[in-house]
């Protein structure tokens, strides 16, 4: 019987290790990406945010109406001209696939700034800086970097406001529509370590 007990211990240790190794502790729900190949090369992916339904937070200095209700935005003077927004992010199938943060700053120290962080839990994060001026076709911008599957990508991100005429779901600001985001993954970010370059140069010599 003692042999059986010892065998059980071995099975228990092995089973626990095998379970920890093979059974994933975290399993993120993954939506299939909808990516289009662009004519000039690279890939494009479209996201959007429905306003007001997908807006989680709108914080700005001096704003009378808090969103979400009950939020206390810091009223420090240093934050004058700073607006922060949080959204749920949707793909082209209108499925929520991530969370996005948008910062808009306008002050004398750093000028006019519009930035996005798109966080897609199963894939990674995208960081983008946009031009402050809005053009006819939207506001263009540049991908600054990313993590996960976006870490080796560079390219562009543009935003565009599309108003909808429906009065059904009008937000606190009296607007409804959607913010469309188009990410263009144009080139791979290739980093060559200096020692690799030196080895190649030596080989040529």
């Amino acid at each position: 019987m003692i042999r059986l007990f010892i065998t059980g211990i071995v099975i228990g240790i092995t089973g626990a290790i095998a379970a920890l190794y093979y059974v994933p502790a975290v399993d993120q729900k993954r939506e299939a990406s909808i990516i289009a190949v662009t004519p000039n090369g690279g890939n494009a992916e479209r996201f959007h945010v429905n306003i007001p339904g997908d807006r989680i937070m709108l914080g700005a200095h001096g704003r009378q109406t808090a969103l979400p209700e009950g939020m206390r935005w810091p009223e420090d003077d240093i934050l004058a001209g700073t607006q922060a927004e949080l959204f749920k992010l949707r793909n082209q199938r209108d499925v929520v696939i991530g969370v996005a943060s948008r910062l808009a700053v306008s002050n004398a120290e750093i000028g006019n700034v519009v930035e996005w962080v798109l966080h897609l839990p199963a894939r990674g994060s995208l960081f983008a800086s946009l031009e402050p001026a809005m053009r006819d076709d939207g506001r263009p911008g540049e991908l600054r970097g990313g993590t996960g599957e976006f870490s080796e990508l560079s390219g562009a991100l543009s935003e565009r406001w599309v108003a909808t005429s429906s009065d059904v779901d009008v937000g606190a600001d009296g607007v409804n529509g959607r913010i469309e985001l188009v990410a263009s993954y144009i080139a791979a970010r290739v980093e060559v370590a200096p020692d690799v370059v030196d080895v190649d140069a030596e080989a040529d010599e």
Binding site: T14, A16, L20, I56, P68, L79, V95, I97, E109, P121
Partner: protein
């Protein structure tokens, strides 16, 4: 029957031994941050890591830590159910507000409990209105936090933990375990920097999560940013 009970008892003991080895594994110790021995200038940003003190905190709405404020939209959709968002005021060493930080964190499929890795992927979006904006991509390992605070709190008869704990959360994606910082505007425009995030905790409740906890972001500036700031070269 006795043989079967003996075998089952052995299996349970074996599983407990494996769990004990994982929990008490002496190899899982806090690593020293490479920025702690850096000679470069650093930006230090402090914030409250207590969700109840945040400007906005939201999650799936079913976790122990409740969203704040009560009416904030919850992240209940399946692809973002393991995601939390913290919006907090960032303060300098004097406690004055210097900016706003948005932290979006998701549990990672890279989690390997066998390797003492409870991985969280996070993205910080930071605005310091007098200095510029930054975006930080970070891999965090919460293993030591879970082992030294959360598990002892569950073991405690009072369902809480009190003490002094300070640990580095950052574990990547850079080779030395630092987070990757992308400068967006102002003095940080175009810069690629490194950062680490620390968490200091003195009280934790099983029912509500952290009760007294402070976070700290340390961002190492390059020589270029140091010069822009008007300081002499380090």
């Amino acid at each position: 029957m006795r043989y079967l009970v003996s075998l089952l008892l052995g299996i349970v003991c074996g599983a407990l031994i494996a769990a004990g080895f994982l929990y008490f594994n002496p190899a899982a110790q806090d690593a020293l941050s490479p920025l702690a021995v850096s000679g470069q200038q650093q930006v230090v940003l402090n914030f409250s890591a207590v969700p109840g003190e945040a400007i906005v905190f939201t999650n799936d709405g079913e976790s122990r830590t409740p969203p704040r404020p009560d009416k904030v939209s919850q992240l209940w959709e399946a692809p973002i159910r393991k995601t939390t968002v913290l919006v907090t005021a960032l303060k300098d060493y004097r406690g004055s507000t210097v900016g706003i930080g948005v932290k979006i964190s998701s549990m990672s499929e890279a989690t390997r409990l066998l390797n003492n890795e409870a991985i969280v992927e996070s993205a910080w979006h930071i605005v310091l209105p007098r200095q510029g904006t930054m975006q930080i991509g970070q891999t965090e390992n919460h293993w030591n936090y879970l082992r030294e605070i959360v598990v002892p709190a569950h073991w405690s008869a009072a369902d809480n933990w009190k003490g002094n704990w300070r640990g580095m959360l950052s574990s990547g994606p850079n080779a030395l375990g630092t987070a990757r910082v992308f400068g967006g505007s102002g003095r940080y425009v175009g810069a690629e920097l490194e950062a680490v995030e620390y968490l200091s905790t003195s009280a934790y409740s099983v029912r509500t999560g952290p009760v007294a906890a402070d976070g700290q972001l340390i961002i190492e500036l390059s020589q270029e940013q140091t010069r822009v700031a008007g300081s002499p070269d380090p």
